[in-house]
C-alpha cells in the first residue's frame, strides 16, 4: 500500500510539472509551429498497466484523467475517459506478448496516438477545437509521439525496476 502511495505521488508530481516546468519543451513556446506535448502522466499510466495489470491502469487513468479535467478543462470527462481507456487497453495488449523494450515502445506509441485522437475527436465533436485534422496530425500528433517515445525509453529501466518491485511485493502479499 505504501508503494502505491509513492506511485500516486510520483504521477501527481509529473502532472504538476507538465503544467508548470515542462512548458518550455514544446517548440511553439519559442515561436515555432510544431507542438510537442508532454503526456508523461499517460506514459506512467501505461507502464503501470503493463506491470501491475489493466485494472490498476484503469483506476489510475480514471483518477488522474479526472484531475486533469478539473484543473485545465472546461468540460469534464474527456481526459478521464481517454486515460482510463488507454490505461485499460494497454494492459490488455501486454497480456498477449512478452515483455521487451520494443513491445513497450510500440504499446506506448499506439496508446498515445489513440489517446490524442480520442481527445481531439471529442473536443472537435463538441466544437471546442477548430484546428484542421491534417494540420493537427502533422504539427501536433507526430511531434508529440516522438517526444513521448523518447521519454518512455528514458524511464524504461527505472520505471521497470520500481514497478516490478511493487508487483513482486504485491504477489508476496497475496500468497
Amino acid at each position: 500500500m505504501i508503494s502505491y502511495l509513492w506511485l500516486t505521488l510520483l504521477l501527481f508530481a509529473l502532472m504538476l510539472s507538465e503544467g508548470t516546468v515542462l512548458q518550455f519543451i514544446s517548440p511553439d513556446a519559442w515561436g515555432g509551429n510544431l507542438q510537442m506535448i508532454p503526456h508523461f502522466v499517460l506514459v506512467g499510466i501505461i507502464y503501470i498497466a503493463l506491470y501491475l495489470g489493466r485494472r490498476t491502469g484503469l483506476w489510475f487513468g480514471l483518477t488522474l484523467g479526472l484531475l486533469q479535467d478539473i484543473l485545465y478543462s472546461d468540460v469534464i470527462g474527456v481526459y478521464a475517459f481517454g486515460m482510463a481507456l488507454v490505461g485499460y487497453f494497454s494492459g490488455l495488449a501486454f497480456k498477449l506478448f512478452h515483455q521487451s523494450l520494443l513491445l513497450v515502445l510500440l504499446t506506448i506509441l499506439l496508446s498515445v496516438l489513440i489517446y490524442d485522437l480520442v481527445v481531439y475527436g471529442f473536443f472537435t465533436m463538441f466544437g471546442l477545437v477548430q484546428t484542421g485534422f491534417h494540420w493537427t496530425v502533422m504539427n501536433q500528433l507526430i511531434p508529440t509521439l516522438f517526444l513521448n517515445a523518447l521519454f518512455a525509453v528514458l524511464v524504461y529501466i527505472p520505471m521497470g525496476r520500481f514497478l516490478s518491485g511493487i508487483s513482486i511485493e504485491q504477489n508476496e502479499h497475496n500468497f
Binding site: 504538476l16 508548470t20 513556446a29 484531475l67 484543473l71 485545465y72 463538441f126
Partner: protein, 319 residues
Amino acid sequence: MKWVFTLSNFFANKRLIILLSSLIILIILMGITLGKRENATWPERFIRDTVSLGQNIISKPAYAIAGFFERVRGMYQIYEENRVLKSNLDRFAQLSADVTRLKNENDRLREMLDAKSRYNDYRLHFAQVIGRSPDRWNQVVIIDLGEKHGIKNGMVVITSRGMVGRVQSTSNFSSKVELLSDIERGNYLSAIIEEIQEYGVIEGYDATNHYLIMNKIPMEADIKLGQQVTTSGLGDPVIPPGIIIGEVMEIVPGEYGLTKMAYIKPNADFYRIHEVFVVERIAPEVLGELESEDSTVEPYIEDHTVNSGEDAPQGEGNQ
C-alpha cells in the same frame, strides 16, 4: 473462449457493455458541463485550491530560475536597449504633457456640458501564473489570485504588452484564465479598431499562423494594415474599453460577403506568460458606460440621451 460474434455473445461480452455505457456517461457528463457555468462546484473548487498549493511550490522557483537566465541573456542587449529607451523617454515627456493637457481640457469640456466625469478607470491586480494546460486543446493558464482577492468571472487579464485573456472560472485562491487563443463557440469579444472607430467581434484564433480573427466589421470600414485593435468595452460590463489587443495584419471579405474580416496579430505573447495583471473595472454604474464610451459614433449618443433621461435620477439617488 469463442470469438463468434452473435447477439447473445454481444450481451455476454461484459467488457464491451462497460465500454459503451461509459461512453454514454461521458457524453452526458460533457453535455452537462459544456454550457457556460457561473460557478464551479465545490469539489472542483476544493481540488483546484489544493492543487494550486503544489503548483505554487513548483512554479515560482522555476520561473525565478528561468527569469535569472533571461536576465543574464538580456545583459548583452542592455546597451542597445538603453539607447532606444532614452530616446523614447524624451518623447515620453512630450507625450505625458500632452496627456495632461488633453485630460484637463476634457474635464473642462465635460464640466461645460454638465456631464458627470466618468472615466473608465480600472485597477490592476498583479498575479503570477502558476500553471498552464499541458496540451493545446485548452489554452488555459492558472493564476495565483482567486475570489478571496476580488477576482470575478469575465475579468480581463493583460500582460504589459496587451490583453491575453479573460478569467473563466474562479476558486478561492486561484483562478483559471482562458487565453484569447482559446476562443470557443459563443464566447466572443467585442473589439474596436481605434483609428477608424469601427466595431467588430473577435471570434476565433488561427493556430496555423497565430492570428486572431476579427469578424463582422462593416463593409464600408476603411481598414488599413497596422491599425490598432482594442477592446470596445461594449457587451460585457466587466471589460473596460481601450485595452490593446493587437494590430491588423490581413483583411479579407467576411463569411457571407456582407462584412469584412481581419486577421489580428496579438500584441502579447501567449506562450511565455509569467506575470499578468487582472483588470478590475471601476465603473459600477451601467449608465456611465454607455455615456462615456465614445462620442464619435452616432447611435450611441442617441442611446445615451435616452438612457440618461431615464436613469440619471436613479444614479444620483445611489450616491
